[in-house]
């Protein structure tokens, strides 16, 4: 079994301030995980704002260089992708899905522009019909067709449709990995599940692995194979999604779970503030200890 993506002891420090006053913040600290190739999965990274989940995603996409550690995708690291040809080869295999579908398309341009550019540069297609076939094929995978979006501008489509077009665009080069940073937080409630279900179908039907980044434990539970919970740049708990979310062990994971608003007691007005002792334990010990493997396969920071 070879690794699709191998993240080893990755850290990212940002220098704040200028030349005279230098402060450093640790956005990501010593994160390691591996995605196997051949067994597509949805790997979810959970965290609040400031947890480092977005920075980690940016590093995997090569938009940011790690300060320490190595990110190796299919045997090559970011340093080996400096030239344009290697970058393009990388983009054929790894593609992002964006947070806000209305933002992901230039409102002044037709949406097919992005699909066309992708087919042209990443697949190297020249012929108009070949390009249209590639676009239509990808759109079919997300339940749309080229005829539906031809000549359309972003404001003529709904958020859910746009997000599906964006995902179709990412699928054109038939990538092995999609990195989806909060792909549904800006999509309306009634359309949200169509995107979440689509990510699941991509894994099951087309064998695409997905790194799903979110703060929402409920959708994470719904689609993930494995999850990784991050707090202030540190991984606090990692393992098979359902057991971890059903019985979280790290204090921070438990705090997150307790903070999920349940609909079970709808209308009872029961709204206990999160247990302060858990919260305190979670924040005071942020980042201390090391990850320990448990019998059920999960890793917990102790």
């Amino acid at each position: 079994m070879t690794a699709l993506l191998d993240v080893t002891a990755v850290s990212k420090r940002f220098a704040m301030g200028g030349i005279l006053s230098r402060k450093q913040t640790d956005a990501v600290v010593d994160v390691s995980f591996t995605l196997a190739s051949g067994t597509p999965e949805i790997f979810t990274i959970i965290g609040e704002s400031g947890s480092g989940k977005t920075t980690l995603a940016r590093m995997i996409l090569g938009l940011e260089d790690p300060s320490d550690g190595q990110i190796v995708f299919e045997g090559s690291s970011a340093e080996e992708r400096r030239n344009a040809a290697r970058r393009l080869a990388f983009m054929r295999r790894v593609q992002p899905v964006f947070q806000n579908p209305f933002e992901a398309f230039n409102p002044l341009k037709q949406v097919e522009r992005y699909l066309e550019a992708t087919a042209r540069t990443l697949l190297g297609l020249k012929d108009r019909t070949a390009i249209e076939d590639a676009m239509d094929g990808a759109l079919q995978k997300v339940g749309l067709s080229y005829a539906e979006i031809k000549g359309r501008f972003p404001h003529e489509l709904s958020g859910g449709q746009l997000q599906r077009v964006a995902i179709a665009r990412a699928l054109i080069p038939e990538p092995a990995l999609l990195i989806a940073d909060e792909p549904v937080s800006m999509v309306d409630a009634s359309l949200r599940m169509s995107i979440v279900n689509l990510l699941r179908d991509l894994r099951d039907t087309f064998g695409v692995s997905v790194i799903y980044i979110t703060h929402d434990l409920a959708t994470a539970y719904y689609i993930s194979d494995r999850i990784m919970i991050m707090q202030k740049g540190h991984v606090v708990e990692m393992g098979p999604a359902r057991p971890v979310l059903e019985t979280p062990q790290h204090p921070y994971s438990r705090l997150l779970k307790q903070s999920v608003l349940s609909t079970e007691n709808a209308g009872q007005g029961v709204l206990e503030p999160a247990d302060r002792s858990i919260a305190r334990a979670a924040w005071e010990n942020a980042g201390s200890g090391r990850l320990v493997e448990k019998p059920d396969g999960r890793m917990v920071r102790e």
């Binding site: 309306d188 959708t219 359902r242 705090l255 307790q258 608003l261 609909t263």
Partner: protein, 345 residues
């Protein structure tokens, strides 16, 4: 159903955006014929998707509308003690006299509602000193006591808004809106931008203040799980109209509108592994809404009648109203809620 003990009654309210710009005239019916009433000492949740008109509705309720949004028709009556007032018929002095003292507002986006170059202390005195109507010393004593009651340190009075975290800032705006102990509070998505842990704390804080003061709160958010935890009653808004209204528990267990049934049924939950379906189609364009029932193009129960006739909002149960021709046939989508709540180890 309009009861004189209700703090607010709204009858046949219509508010439209009217725009004429470079030759294009548009009329957007953001609030289209809404009738509802808010009781004393309750949290009334308003739910709806983006551009459903829910924000316009509460702007109208708060008498906070600006052109191009204008009230076209309908009546709006607040009852505070002896005062009975329709902000759209009263003078601006009369409206200003009830603001903050009786009617206050928590705006969306805690980042930008506080003056960035003014210390929090000054915001409190600007907003609340006059309505409270006491001398300086008493005012600051009460303000400090209020902050402490909300678990906020009075030290924050010295801070500038940008020196506080998002959650802290939102708590400060809630404290600011409630310091005069108003009877009616309008809260517009006050927790949307917050992290989950902070969100729960802030919701608990709003609920707490409301209980202590016995005020009425109108709470707007698109997030049904927030409504489940804070609202006593919920009104569901779709394309500018109120499509269903009822006690929170009823809406979650026995919805009588297919849209509500979908909203509450498609929420994923930890411990629930069933597949959740999405609603097809796209939210309607308010400038050109569908005919008849505005939900019909996306409705699984739609019949021909729905395409031509607008269903009225009718009573379908105890304080439960729904606007659907086939209300009786609506079934909850999800496994029935009400099973024992999950026990967290």
């Amino acid at each position: 159903m309009a009861d004189s003990t209700d703090i607010l009654t709204v009858k046949g309210l219509k508010a439209y955006y009217r725009m004429a710009y470079f030759g294009i005239d548009r009329e957007v019916r953001a609030v289209d014929d809404i009738t509802l009433s808010i009781r004393r000492n309750e949290v009334y949740g308003i739910a709806g998707e983006s551009s459903s008109g829910k924000t316009s509705l509460i702007k109208v309720l708060a008498a906070a509308i600006r052109p191009p949004l204008e009230v076209v028709d309908g009546a709006l009556t607040y009852r505070f003690g002896d005062i009975e007032i329709d902000p759209y018929k009263a003078s601006s002095e009369e409206v200003n006299a009830i603001r903050w003292k009786h009617l206050s507002y928590i705006m969306q986006g805690s980042m930008s509602v506080l003056n960035p170059v003014r210390r929090i202390r000054h915001s409190f005195s600007d907003f609340a000193f006059q309505p409270m109507g006491v001398d300086k010393k008493t005012f600051w004593e009460r303000t400090r006591a209020h902050l402490e009651r909300l678990n906020l340190s009075p030290d924050i009075l010295r801070a500038y808004p940008h020196e506080l975290s998002g959650g802290m800032r939102q708590r400060v705006t809630i404290a600011l809106a409630t310091v005069c102990q108003p009877e009616f509070i309008i809260a517009d998505e006050p927790t949307t931008a917050l992290d989950v842990v902070v969100q729960k704390d802030v919701l608990a804080m709003i609920r707490d203040v409301q209980r202590q003061m016995g005020s009425s709160v109108v709470f707007v958010t698109h997030d049904m799980s927030v409504h489940a935890n804070i609202a006593d009653r919920i009104g569901i808004v779709y394309a500018g109209r109120l499509v269903e209204e009822g006690p929170t528990r009823t809406l979650f267990t026995a919805p009588k509108h297919p849209y509500t049934a979908h909203l509450v049924g498609s929420l994923p939950r930890i411990g629930d592994t069933t597949t959740k379906a999405a609603l097809e189609g796209r939210p309607p364009n308010l400038a050109d809404p569908p005919s008849g029932c505005r939900f019909h193009p996306r409705c699984p129960l739609a019949i021909d009648k729905c395409k031509t006739e607008v269903p009225p909002l009718e009573t379908v149960g105890q304080s439960h109203r729904s606007a659907c021709w086939r209300a009786d046939e609506v079934k909850p989508l999800a496994p029935v809620a009400g099973q024992p709540a999950q026990v967290t180890p």
